[in-house]
Point group: C2
Chain length 226, copies 2
């Protein structure tokens, strides 16, 4: 958290301290660039890219400026070059082994999702506590006992774990994950996880998203009388 010295930065390192809000948008830009690239576009302006990504062009330029000066004034950005730079910055050029715990309704969908593989995430194991699931093979990966977690994490050097178990089991699963060496968790269970310092947790909660929509919806119709 302490501010890093700004002087004497080695030029080989990329720029440090990218704001969290920017980090969250970089994958969006990456996707937009990939789409443009597939359409055969060679260069694009910040205006075009911003509109493809659904953001303000000033915000886009400021975001990109944290990575470095990869554009050309009067011209724009080289699509392929910028795409690579962003991918490198967020680490998508690497291969990230991932484990999914809880192969129920949601776990099945996640295991079958092709969008992970194409972005450098490789599902190396599917784990479930229910022995009845252990005969199953989902998307070419067989479901294994939850107790194999530690061994698999060590073997493949897994850093990222996905939790798709019921809420009651989530904290236990998280504890085991952390104990095994996992330091980033994506949690789909509607539970507040407590993890030690240094472990990142992101949660995806569909009910909350719907409730936020409901709140605004309620005010659209009900508040119309004001």
């Amino acid at each position: 958290m302490e501010t890093r010295a700004l002087t004497a930065r080695t030029s080989t390192e990329s720029t440090r301290d990218i704001p969290e809000a920017t980090v969250a948008r970089l994958p969006v830009y990456l996707r937009a660039l990939t789409t443009l690239c597939e359409a055969g576009t060679i260069t694009c302006s910040s205006e075009e890219l911003a509109s493809a990504a659904g953001v303000n062009s000033a915000k886009l330029r400021k975001d990109l400026s944290y990575l470095g000066s990869y554009g050309t004034r009067g011209v724009g950005y080289d699509v392929d070059y910028l795409r690579y730079q962003i991918a490198r910055e967020i680490g998508v050029t690497q291969d990230w082994p991932v484990v999914i715990v809880g192969i129920g309704n949601l776990g099945h969908a996640l295991a079958n999702y092709s969008g992970f593989r194409s972005r450098g995430f490789r599902v190396v194991a599917l784990l479930d506590a229910d022995p009845n699931r252990h005969e199953e093979v989902v998307a070419g990966v067989d479901v294994r006992p939850f107790d194999d977690l530690e061994q698999i994490v060590k073997e493949h050097g897994v850093a990222i774990g996905v939790i798709a178990t019921p809420a009651l089991a989530a904290q236990d699963v998280a504890n085991r994950m952390v104990a095994s060496g996992i330091s980033s968790i994506l949690n789909f269970a509607p539970a507040v996880l407590s993890v030690p310092e240094g472990v990142d947790v992101r949660k995806v909660d569909l009910s909350i998203e719907l409730q936020i929509l409901a709140y605004h919806e309620q005010r659209k119709t009900h508040g119309a009388t004001a």
Copy 2:
């Protein structure tokens, strides 16, 4: 967007202008309160509730203050009373009919998810463009042709739609939803949707979540040399 007059507010109306960040946390508090309630807790302090919700207690109190003064100084909050107040504020006491479009891997999981029903969201229809899916029945609801959208929306007064189709179809589906009268969309497809003013869109993008984790993970290990 214009500032509303603060004078002469009728006392029957609940407080207006709840900050967006607060709205996003209210469902979390609601869940924590429900858990406490089921555990038989009658009252709780802001400190307890905050810890159950995973937030700062000062933030919690400030959030709740936007709804009104529902606590008692020196005592805390009545769990059941506060729960009802929050539920009413975000509209969860109502019944919200919802349609899901795109009954593939993810659509199946969503249709089977029990967490929606228990929070006032009722899946009234499952729609898919693929005729092969139309014989299927998922979670007691039969899959119907996408072209039935307009009729179903009108019939049930649907305001909220969920998109779980491939990215290429998402914009088309959104257009049809809006044309049918839907004004809130939850989008799972990795696509930027453009919708007219007055329509709310929230997106859930699993790849982005993983990429954000990967970015921080990369810096944990790689930046350790600094």
